[in-house]
């Protein structure tokens, strides 16, 4: 039976309360009658033979690229780059898709007699992965074959000896990427296309770039002109990456792009109720909800966090394409939209979102207040094509406790950003002019990024910039259950209950606003007409 597509439910008196994420807990929330709830499509079926599909993709490339086997030869330099810990969400059950693809590539390389092979985690300015995280992504067989010999690297955007400046685009954008990758005979990039903005030229142009390169598109102007990130033709972020990607190609870097889509099977059996429609919950689902929500509420915060961060998603490979970057990406993006797209008719005055415990930047970590803003206003708000779910001048109501908690090892510059920058301004343009460079070049942050597991000093700025479009578009952001002082620091308002939040929204959207709730995760993207 085909999975059911996503749809929009209109809440009436018989509609049961909807599941609402609140960070490291969740509950049931009754929405006002007449509200709409956008449900994601059900997960598509997994491929029966993922290894076979991968091999087939490698040998039958998409677009103007040769089969992988034809590109491999003895004596060549081969570099295999792969997406980092930020994908997929939650981390998937082993074997990870990266492991499956890389093993297939390595098998072919071995058959062709290639022995100069290096693996590189394409971190950009993200934190370095830990050994367990690398083992999980690549499998112990690959890890043990490469890591002990120094052949498993993590991209270091602050290592001038391993960066190469390839030139400037016709827009004056510097393109500086990983030297080993750029100078290899073949660069194989292994993507996980969790959302529509992943992959394409962004893989190399962003994932293997330096701050010098990234600052050209990770800035408030680009973010405000990306409407949305998920829709390439309307995304300035996409355009900038494409200009850079084409320069990389013209520089002679031979890229063999492998892109994959996973289905949206997000939660394991014990948490399956989290991705079901509430009126279809059986006794088992109700009991699982009652037990888990109560346990998470009662558990010490660290324990609740560990429980949730320990979830491994039963994601399964749905499609895989390999070959020329743009051709591969066009096909894969269509597949992502097919899995996640939901037709939504008309905009709403108020959009509500329950924010879960995880975002791309707090895997095995803490969702700090800046990441809360980024998940709600950067990611969920931008998960649209056409126009935002909420109208211009509308209100976003997020559910999250938004505590002033930070992981000091992963997010050191976020703490300073919160204490210094946000106390001065929440305006992305002002902060970019006044503070960005100081954070980006701070030697302590650079040291922690290079030697520890810290996000780069400039990263909190980028997270805030992701919110630029939403902050410009919305008249108000209200966080239900958010720590009042912290929420105020973010420039938003806090409310105790949804009713309070709706009351607070009235001065922006009138007495009888329309309300739309995004029931995510699983991931969905609204096709708003």
């Amino acid at each position: 039976m085909n999975p059911r597509p996503g749809f929009v439910l209109e809440v009436d008196r018989s509609t049961p309360p909807t599941l609402m994420w609140k960070g490291e807990s969740f509950g049931l929330q009754k929405l006002p009658t007449g509200s709409r709830i956008v449900y994601a499509p059900e997960p598509f079926d997994a491929l029966e033979d993922p290894q076979g599909a991968i091999r087939d993709a490698l040998e039958n490339p998409t677009g103007d690229q040769k089969p992988l086997s034809a590109l491999l030869f003895a004596g060549m330099r081969l570099t295999i780059c792969f997406d980092d810990i930020s994908l997929p969400l939650p981390p998937m059950l082993a074997p990870d898709i990266r492991q499956m693809v890389i093993e297939a590539v390595l098998d072919q390389a071995a058959e062709s007699g290639v022995d100069d092979v290096v693996l590189i985690a394409a971190l950009a300015l993200h934190r370095r992965m830990t050994e367990p995280e690398l083992r999980h992504a690549l499998g112990s067989r690959v890890y043990d074959a490469f890591a002990p010999h120094g052949l498993l690297m993590q991209h270091d955007a602050e290592d001038p000896s391993n960066l190469i400046h390839l030139g400037q685009t016709d827009h004056g954008e510097d393109v500086e990427i990983n030297k080993r990758a750029a100078e290899s005979d073949l660069l194989v990039y292994v993507n996980i296309n969790l959302v529509a903005m992943d992959g394409g030229h962004k893989s190399v142009a962003t994932g293997l770039a330096s701050y010098k390169s990234l600052r050209h598109h990770h800035n408030p102007k680009t973010m405000r002109h990306s409407k949305s990130f998920m829709h390439a033709p309307s995304s300035e972020l996409h355009s900038a990456n494409w200009r850079m990607g084409r320069l990389i190609k013209d520089s002679g870097v031979n890229i063999f792009q492998i892109e994959t889509t996973l289905n949206t099977n997000t939660f394991p059996e014990s948490f399956q109720f989290l991705q079901k429609r509430e009126w279809e919950w059986g006794i088992k689902d109700r009991m699982a909800f009652a037990a888990s929500s109560r346990a998470l509420d009662l558990a010490p915060r660290k324990m609740a966090r560990n429980i949730l961060q320990g979830i491994k998603a039963p994601h399964a490979l749905r499609t895989v394409y390999a070959g020329e970057v743009e051709a591969v990406h066009e096909k894969i993006t269509a597949d992502v939209w097919e899995q996640q797209g939901v037709a939504v008719s008309g905009q709403t005055d108020i959009v509500t979102m329950g924010l879960p415990y995880i975002s791309p930047y707090n895997v095995n970590s803490i969702m700090n207040p800046i990441l809360v803003a980024c998940l709600g206003l950067g990611y969920f708000f931008n998960s649209y094509r056409g126009k935002p779910v909420v109208r211009e001048g509308g209100v976003a109501i997020l559910f999250h406790p938004t505590r002033p908690e930070f992981h000091p090892g992963h997010h050191p510059s976020y703490i300073d950003f919160f204490e210094q920058v946000l106390t001065e301004t929440t305006d992305p343009v002002v902060m970019s002019e006044r503070y960005e460079e100081a954070y980006a070049t701070d030697p302590w942050y650079i040291h922690l990024y290079r030697t520890g597991h810290a996000y780069h000093g400039v990263h909190p700025f980028y997270m805030w910039y992701w919110c630029s479009h939403a902050m410009e578009h919305l008249s108000k952001v209200i966080i239900v259950g958010g720590d009042p002082a912290t929420v105020r620091r973010l420039g938003f308002q806090s409310a105790t209950t949804l009713d309070d939040a709706l009351e607070m929204a009235k001065d922006s959207v009138g007495m009888s606003p329309t309300i739309t709730h995004l029931h995510t995760p699983p991931l969905l993207m609204a096709d708003v007409t």
């Binding site: 300073d416 204490e419 210094q420 100081a438 701070d442 030697p443 302590w444 040291h447």
Partner: protein, 420 residues
Amino acid sequence: MKALIIERKVSRFAAARLVSSFGSGRGAALGPLRLFDTPAPKDLGPGWFSVTPVLAGICGSDLATVDGRSSHYFEHLVSFPFVPGHEVLGVMNEAGFDAFGDPLLEGDRVVLQPVLGCAARGIQLCDACREGDVGRCQFLNVGHIRAGLQTGYCADTGGGWSEGPLRAHQSQLYKVPDALSDDDAVTIEPMACALHGALRAHHSGSSTVAVLGAGTLGLGVVAAFAFLAATGRSPRPSRLIVGARYPSQRAVAKHLGADEAVPTDQLARSVRMATRSMISGKSNGKMGPLTGGADIVIDCVGSAESLKESLEIVAPGGRIVMIGMPGKVNVDLAGLWQREVEIVGAYAYGVEHLDGVTVPTFSLAMEMVAHHHTGTLVSAHYPIDRFEEALAHAGAAGPRGAVKIVFDLGRKKATEKKEG
């Protein structure tokens, strides 16, 4: 005349120390300070004049004394019983002369430079006093008056917390310009302390300066740096960062010229950012010492914690200026040794040497007070009868959004006298 007097009663000092653990200034209720009807101090001879206090401030060292928390170091530098109060605006009860030898008329407003140096004691001037550097006087417990490092700690002179006259030596008297309000004038003494402390920093235009604490002294230091730069006497530090516990203090610090005013627990973080330092390890679960740090740290608190923090955020080869009155502290000085850090005290005032010109700190302070109108830092005036409330208010000035609390001792009488 009504005056507040501190007596040497060990039991009362002990009680004050106990009670003050519930809050600074609480020692006034049970401690050594009591309100008496007492005769005015006797004439102390030629060069001494009768001055009636108009306003008298309450400073941190006063609170420490009232609360029984002063260091034993001062035992031989005070004489009991004494009338406290060394931040004094008064009026001359008779014609006299000021510190420069210029005549003063009865009714003239004066501020007291309270140090009781060699000139006041009628002895041959020590080297420091000869230079005008009275804060460094060697002979604070000899001469024809009893021991006392300042007016307000001496049994013979009286003090500012009194409705009746005190005795002031010519060397202590500075005429208040008409342009200064009474509130401005009563801040001259603490501003002189702050100014002297700022100049003890020996900063340059490339210095990063961190100020720890934003009570009257901390804010005064900020004002001093701004004043010195505005008048071209010394360059502005490249970065002036203030750690202040309360939001109102941070707002005033910014207003007076701080580049950054952050909560006290964020000072180290801000200094690290400003100086692009790294961090060497952790200290008790908190951020560890900085590898670099501020060129100058001005400690306006004077506690073991503040000195420890100063040592953690000062740069190698840097300088810590202690303006806040310290007592006995237990601090690890290994970092001081290894990083060749200087700690210098900044007590009171005397003369300052600026571009080859020697100028009394008090004269400079008057100019600074006129520049900033620091009388706005005076948050409340209390009659002497409500001294317990006044001291409690001063002890909780920060959380209550106040800066300087003063006794209003005879403003009305002084005005009547002037008009009459």
